[in-house]
Amino acid sequence: MTKRIRSKIARGSAELAILSLLEDKPLYGFEIARQIGERTGGTLKFTLASLYPLLYEMEKKGWVQAHWEANAGGRDRRYYRLTPTGRRQIAPLRREWRLFFQALDALSGVSHA
């Protein structure tokens, strides 16, 4: 698999992971990375270098909107909130990933692996 294909798959799955997480409530970067790591048992892991370019790109596309707000510890953090456009991306992305895994399953039985 080429680096380009790997990176597109990773980017696509990361977008869905972030959108799904923000569906519940606005979160700031570190919290997004922490919760994704925690909820996936460490399988998906964001670093600063992989997270922020993606968040900025999603912001540019109008999927998320950011604002500064104090967190529970009283420190200012940049919170990301899902926009209506971002919310509309979730269902098609989920369908696409379901289709992707069905295709992989048909090819190599990944769900039984």
Binding site: Y28, F30, A49, R77, R95, L99
Partner: protein, 288 residues
């Protein structure tokens, strides 16, 4: 504890050419992230040295990060050099020449050639900007534009052998005549135009599907030529007829509805039929 703000500012400076307030914001946000990662590592029992090392592992290559942040936070025009130096000037020159010819009403054949070339160049420019296009443009507007360009090209090409506008007017004013119209170039044009819509619809839906478009995006992309004709026949022509107090239209309002059926409804059905093979989720391609 290290001064994370200073560290980020130092590592991000130089290659980043962002607006100062954006730079401030990015620095503050990244520094806050590193600070929290460091504190978490310390709270988990790591020594200061280990915590710093773990925190710095958040960024393997600062130069890659600078490039990525510049790409995503910069408000610079994302157009490629080729588009700026080749496509846009060519489109501008041809469009101006075409417009002048329309105004002075000269060289109709050259005018047609120019408009076809402008459409072609515009399409080339959009394709060359592929990487800069957002998802909606790739999945909806570009395929829709392709299917509309194909339909317009067909009209231009047809007009070199016959004058479709005469048939257009005749059929719009007397739509019932389509049932007993005499064979000739007009009828041949209309039916070949409708049949060609199967291909245009297929093209729009196919392109949208290749870009990962949803079923509704594929339908919209395929139906684009019919939607344009609907706007023309259903809104522009009726409003202009009413504004001009067109007596014929005022006495025969059903003509407008028939006109819409013939120029938007029937082509719309043909477009949808052409798109049908590309609407199934089973054959959908996931672009990698």
């Amino acid at each position: 504890m290290p001064d994370w703000n200073r560290l980020v500012r130092k590592r991000m400076s130089g290659a980043l050419k962002l607006e100062p307030h954006v730079m401030e914001e990015v620095t503050a946000e990244l520094a806050a992230h590193l600070e929290e990662a460091y504190e978490r590592a310390r709270a988990a029992g790591a020594s200061e040295r280990t915590a710093i090392r773990q925190t710095l592992q958040e960024v393997v290559s600062w130069s890659d990060l600078r490039a990525e942040i510049r790409r995503t936070r910069s408000m610079e025009d994302g157009m490629t050099r080729r588009t700026k130096l080749l496509w846009l000037p060519a489109i501008g020159i041809l469009f101006t020449v075409g417009l002048v010819l329309v105004i002075v009403d000269r060289a109709p054949a050259l005018q047609q050639f120019i408009w076809i070339a402008v459409f072609g160049l515009l399409f080339g420019a959009i394709v060359s900007e592929g990487k800069n296009l957002n998802e909606r443009t790739k999945r909806l507007w570009l395929p829709g534009f392709a299917s509309m360009t194909a339909a317009s090209m067909f009209l231009f090409a047809a007009s070199t052998v016959a004058d479709p506008s005469r048939f257009f007017t005749q059929l719009s004013l007397r739509p019932q005549s389509v049932l007993h119209v005499e064979p000739g170039p007009g009828l041949t044009f209309y039916f070949s135009w409708i049949i060609a819509h199967l291909v245009f619809g297929g093209l729009g839906a196919f392109m949208s599907r290749q870009a990962g478009g949803t079923r509704s995006a594929r339908v919209f992309a395929a139906m684009f030529p019919a939607l344009t004709m609907f706007l023309l026949c259903g809104i522009v022509i009726p409003i202009s007829a009413l504004a001009q107090h067109n007596l014929f239209v005022e006495r025969h309002p059903m003509t407008l509805i028939f006109g819409m059926m013939i120029w938007a409804g029937i082509p719309g059905i043909a477009l949808l039929a052409g798109a049908a093979p590309f609407l199934s989720e089973r054959g959908r391609t996931i672009p990698l």
